[in-house]
Amino acid sequence: MNPVAIKIFVPIDAAALSVGAEGVAQAVLREAQARGVAIELVRNGSRGMLWLEPLVEVETAEGRIAYGPVAARDIAALFEAGFQSGGTHALRLGVTEELDWMKRQQRLTFARIGVTDPLSLSDYSAHGGLAGLKAALAMTGEAIVETVKASGLRGRGGAGFPTGIKWKTVHDAPAEQKYIVCNADEGDSGTFADRMLMEGDPFLLIEGMAIAAVAVGATKGFIYLRSEYPHAHRTLQRAILKAENAGILGDSVLGSGHAFRLEVRLGAGAYICGEETSLLESLEGKRALVRAKPPLPALQGLFGKPTVVNNVLSFSAVPWILQHGAKAYADYGMGRSRGTLPVQLGGNVRRGGLIELAFGISLREIIEDMGGGTLSGRPIRAVQVGGPLGAYLTAGQLDVAMDYEALASMKAMLGHGGIVVFDDTVDMARQARFAFAFCAKESCGKCTPCRIGAVRGVEVMDRIIAGTERPKNIAVLRDLNRLMTDASLCAMGGLTPMPVMSALNHFSEDFDRPLPALAAE
């Protein structure tokens, strides 16, 4: 490449592609060629300012300048305005790093995403990649596990279990074969951080899993990826091949003598496969019925062998911790929630996207300050946090901090950090009905409270919505929810009552609407 070539960045993240990034990239190439401008087009990940996608950046002496949202038809005018040297144009947003959305964040895990070419290993190393793995290779397994423990990292998949303790169990379990399994099922509505990470910085996940393998003595790993993510699938496959060719994966991880091989496996459209034991059954090739615990997967996991199962973001936090030390990580956060949380803001919101911040920022700051309120411009009525099993909060409850315990104290949950905003047109009785319908469709079917309870729940909600014997049916609803909470084998049936009860308790007027029910327009 010509050394004076101008670097232009157009994201290859699926969300950016979904609103036309590919057409923009092609237009940039065409226009540059027509004008005889030497450019190097980099297909980066997304910065996470999804309302500005496609976000095009140009490298200048001042730093990277952002333009967005850019359509293919804007490209000629942009060149005309001299955007290739940071020129003024209505779409010019300024220096990317200086934008309010970026400046407010504390990006540890997402530091490289949107900055680098996801599939360039040299770019990865130049931006600090592999430093964590190299540090780990100079340590004993115990010391790595202790570091992860001391960092306070808790599983980012939803349950918030301390990652170091899980690793210690696997480390201490004697076995000739151990496995590392990455839970990349990301089935929760409102979540996309795993996807962005796998598309925007796949080597980070690979590095995190390799560190886990070295720590516990595992030689084989699987990334269980949901089939709804075809772009991430392609990126991961390419990244794994490159990592193999570079000796990061294979018989001897970076020449250390530790063997570690990695495969991506696709799910097949079942939400329950995000539950770790169901996921293991699926990896083994079976119907994905949830297993009773104990035994813990850490002791008897994949094919009955000790297995580390962690979320994409949990593994991806580890390289930073090994590179910078446990204390540096633990210095972020509040209470028992240490480090940073990638928050995902979606639904009816003006500025939706990915925000990485230390635990503790309030929901209101995220939704109002960063998100700018609803996209429709109508008042916020309800916010669901933590996926389809998470509670619905009212506009009056948004001062709660993003922290596992703070949300739990409000009978809500943080889950995978997804926030979904609804305006005042939402009908919360319908949302409660949906929670049951979703559970009925996605239940693994192993235990009765969930399998049958969810179906009964839909029926009860139908009667309530239709206005049939409401007080009696609301009593049945409460009873059913108590039963599902207490008697379900896993959190699918056990937590479906959370969205239902929060809708009933906080938005009871929707369960008592005058008839005929106001049909949604």
């Binding site: 290859i12 699926a14 969300a15 592609l17 979904s18 609103v19 036309g20 590919e22 057409g23 092609q26 999804l50 309302w51 996608e53 990301e186 089935g187 509505s189 409102g190 979540t191 996309f192 795993d194 089939s227 709804e228 993510y229 075809p230 392609r234 496996r265 696709l266 799910g267 097949a268 459209g269 079942a270 939400y271 990896l283 083994e284 090739g285 079976k286 119907r287 994905a288 094919f303 995902q344 803001l345 979606g346 639904g347 009816n348 919101v349 939706g352 996207g353 669901q384 389809p388 997804g418 979904v420 609804f422 305006d423 939402v426 949302q431 949906f434 979703f438 996605e442 949604a520 327009e521």
Partner: protein
């Protein structure tokens, strides 16, 4: 989407043989067969069972458990429309109603009569740019009635064919 080869026992057998060595090979095999033929024909069940030394019931059980696998050839085009909460908040249910009302397309109609099928999925990881859909492996954001009509129409494919990497 169109243009899958007809089911062929011999090529199915060779796809299965090529993957049978994997640990937990069932799902990779089912995906590979569906990618090749557009569906997993019931005739595959004994072939997979034999190759993996599992019972036919286990293979059939796996196929029927997962929403992705189909046992009959797909229609010409399948549009996977997200109907999870974030897309609900942006009006995906109005799109479903619109499809039925203006286009006579019933979401999740498995009668097999239609040329175009619209199927429910729960979350495509595009929750900040919903409503979202997945069409022939391409993610589409900010889907509205017009865009959906275009996707269901005959000239589809041309408008975003350039988006294929």
């Amino acid at each position: 989407m169109a243009g899958y080869p007809a089911w062929d026992q011999d090529s199915a057998r060779s796809i299965i043989a090529g993957l049978a060595h994997l640990e937990g090979a069932t799902l990779p095999i089912l995906h590979a067969l569906q990618e090749e033929f557009g569906h997993v024909d019931p005739q595959a069940v004994p072939l997979i069972a034999e190759a993996l030394n599992l019972s036919r019931a286990e293979i059939h059980g796996a196929i029927s458990f997962y929403h992705d696998f189909r046992t009959v050839p797909p229609p010409r085009r399948v549009i996977k429309l997200c109907r999870a909460e974030a897309c609900q908040a942006l009006g995906c249910e109005a799109l479903v109603a619109h499809l039925a009302h203006d286009h006579g397309i019933v979401v999740d109609d498995h009668s097999g009569a239609a040329d175009i099928a619209v199927e429910t999925v729960y979350c495509l990881g595009n929750c900040a740019l919903g409503p979202a859909a997945l069409v022939d492996g391409e993610l589409i954001g900010r889907v509205d009635a017009g865009r959906l009509a275009e996707l269901c129409g005959s000239q589809v494919g041309s408008s975003h064919a350039g988006a294929r990497a």
